[in-house]
Amino acid sequence: MRSPRFACSVAVVALALAAPAVPAVAADVVAVQDGGELIIASTNSPPNWNPVSATGDITTNRQQQWPLYPHPFLTGTDASVTLNSQFLTSADVVSTDPMVVEYVIRDEAVWSDGTPITVKDFEYTQQVQDPRACADCKAAFTQGYSLVSSIESNDSGKLVRITFATPFAPWKTLFPYVLPAHVAATYGDLATSFNVGLSENVPTVSGGPYRVDGYEDGVVMTLVKNPAWYGNAPHLDTIRVRYIASIDEQITALQNGEINAVYGGATLDTVEQVNQMTGVNVDLGPTLTYYHFGLKASGDVMGDLALRQAIAKALDIADMTLRTVGQYVEGAAPMTSSAYIPGQAEVQDNTGATGVGSGDIAGAQALLEGAGYKLVDGKLHKPDGTALRDIEVLTYSIDPIRVQLAELAQAQLAKLGITVVIDAADRSRYTPDARAGNFDIYTTATALDLGALSLAQWYQTGAARNYFGYSSATVDKLVDEISLTLDPAKAVELTNELDRALLADGVVVPLFPITNMAVYSDSYANIFVNPSKYGTTMNVEEWGLKAN
């Protein structure tokens, strides 16, 4: 069932298609006045100024720098991806063999120094993320860019025609930040400009609605309107990003009027704190990142498919959702898929279809008995008659929700006669232990911004995050097929098939999306939780003081 907010989003999308200059990001945009200033807190100052570099590509930096760059696509509050009609006239796949994508840049689109935004900027952005063109560029993400065989244009440079050597289905994820080639040229060659010039220097030009007016390291970044901005006029004159490392201190500062807005992950404590405040709006919303259990698919115990399936069936996703995020988010929805979050148009009830996460203890016991397991004095015994060893759940001690999830799993699996030992690792050990495969069940989270690619990084044979020893010819084939499928409907169908294959193999138990919150003084409007990894500034030009 879709919420009114999603229905409203559909209406906004429709409006956006009718009027190309209106971005379809926010669902409930209200009238605001021009002028004024807003101070929003951020936990981190930019580790560097290049949002697509390996060290610069972190959540807070992506969000802070979003207002400074042109972006081909926008993610709506309902997680739908739409063309950024403020920047592009169109962006389409015009040929499938070979795959050719054409972006048409609006004639009005210029950098803040008046230089037109053209194919050169796309070329530069592609080259620095393509190891073939720049092996020394420290880019965060190279997939897709390394498949480009040529970039062509027309005389004006406003047409960007990109040909791919092999199809790249998630092509809309490319170029989230188009970098200014003419500025990069002043810093030197590709690697120097990317790793040093654009990384170490505060951006001097902007291709977005705001530009940097001042920066005091670790204290504040001041953004003012970009006079050359070609899209919808932003409302606020000034936006200051104030760096306050702890969200608790951010909320106190908001309470005292020292800042106007807080954006970040919601917890029971922070939500209770902000709910007690007066004069603020609180917007809670799911993100594209969701918690899940990853089950090891190899080794002495977890290599047994029947055991994994029984564990996956016995775990109760709905109960875990209710006892964790459900404590502070009204109507928090459990995941029904590991590929899509609840509310997305593409989501299907794949956990229901496979019985994963149903908390069906009787069903799980039947699976185990069928495979020769026996319950002896309340303890599960393997088919060879020996007692099943303790199952180790690796979780992250810094994240109270992950610890709680491990505890709930411990209680739920005890009903099967399985003893769960919780290994709550700190930051220094959590990922290294996962990489070393020192777990049976891994409590973690996945960002779905890249669609099926997000799953491939975990479950494809030999993938970088495949800590599970998992390998499936079916899954590998589906991943390959999805990456080549340019028909969106077919891609959704295949992705759901991939999801069901993973769930049936008992390697993943999706739980619920991570919730973010936007808390801001009620004199402001149009600040929303954006589910994407780029955050709340995606509709920064719509932010403003409420109209009288």
Binding site: T252, S454, Q457
Partner: protein, 328 residues
């Protein structure tokens, strides 16, 4: 005296080298500074991670990294930070300034209050004044400083709301944007200083006043005080010249030993009030497993320890004639 200072400095240098090596090893073994980078979704390429390892020297054994760091420090280079845009040396200077601004006022107020309250409590031992002061002090000692800070912040917000003006501030050392004129700027900075100063003052006043009370009580029962009473000296002269002055030796020691810790960062106060001082720098560096940054902090802290120990030695000689006579 100069020979004593020279010997102390030589010992301190040796201690410094050993301690820096131990701390360097501990930080280097504490975890992977590139752990966050390795954990990215989608994964960052191995070539980029290797390039970062080379930049930070993580591809070298720890002793080589330490020697490289030591050589760099001698030449004024603290080495690369895990945060690529962070120049550790340039980052430290303003941080020391912020911490000094935060703790200087608090130390002076706390020391004066401790001397007065401790002396007063001792002079009126086991009487109402002593009970009131001691109870108050024990309550302050028992209060975790972060909790005291949070309480004060809430109180400050309540007062602001009641007054309809922002008198107290809860984050930072100055407003954003900072006032342009100097008078509003000073008022603004003072407003930011009030709450953290109260926290730091209360914490240190409480413990220091107990030392002062004990020292004065001991001084009161000493032979030279009895002799002064028998000589018929006035109470004010006995208290001022024969009780309080000798009782300063322990409190000078305690304050001198506490000062390096304070100057190297009032970690909790800086964190709760979000001051970008040395304490915040240390916490951030540890969180990032940034060995070079932690070492830079350690150097500052170690120099402060050496310096203030020397100051304490000199002050002994000033306040205690026995030290001067013993040397003679």
């Amino acid at each position: 005296m100069l020979a004593l200072i020279g010997r102390r400095l030589a010992n301190s240098l040796l201690i410094l080298v050993v301690s820096t090596f131990v701390v360097f090893c501990l930080v280097a073994l504490a975890g992977d500074p590139l752990g966050e980078l390795r954990d990215r979704q989608p994964p960052v390429s191995e070539s980029v991670i290797h390039a970062e390892e080379v930049r930070l020297g993580l591809d070298q054994p720890i002793p080589v990294r330490y020697l490289r760091w030591l050589t760099g420090v001698v030449q004024g280079d603290f080495g690369p930070s895990v945060k690529p845009n962070q120049n550790i040396g340039k980052e430290l200077a303003p941080r020391v300034g912020v911490t000094l601004r935060l703790v200087s006022v608090a130390i002076v107020i706390a020391a004066v209050l401790a001397l007065v309250a401790g002396t007063f409590a001792a002079l009126y031992r086991n009487r109402l004044a002593d009970h009131v002061i001691s109870t108050g002090v024990f309550v302050l000692i028992a209060l975790p400083s972060f909790w005291l800070a949070v309480l004060l912040k809430q109180a400050g917000i309540a007062i602001n709301k009641a007054a309809g003006a922002r008198i107290f501030f809860t984050v930072g050392d100055v407003s954003v944007p900072a006032p342009q004129d100097w008078l509003p700027l000073i008022v603004d900075m003072a407003g930011h200083l009030i709450l953290p100063t109260i926290v730091l003052t209360m914490i240190h006043f409480a413990s220091w006043s107990r030392y002062q009370r004990t020292a004065v009580v001991e001084s009161l029962s000493s032979d030279h005080v009895r002799f002064a009473v028998l000589r018929g000296l006035s109470r004010s002269r006995i208290v001022g010249a024969h009780v309080v002055l000798p009782a300063l030796i322990p409190i000078v020691t305690v304050i001198a030993l506490d000062l390096p810790a304070l100057f190297s960062g009032a970690v909790i106060t800086e964190t709760v009030f979000q001051w970008r001082g040395m304490g915040g720098f240390l916490l951030e560096s540890i969180a990032n497993r940034d060995a070079n940054a932690v070492m830079a902090w350690l150097l500052i802290a170690a120099v402060a320890v050496v310096l203030f120990n020397l100051v304490a030695d000199i002050l002994y000689a000033v306040v205690d004639p026995r030290v001067r006579y013993g040397e003679a």
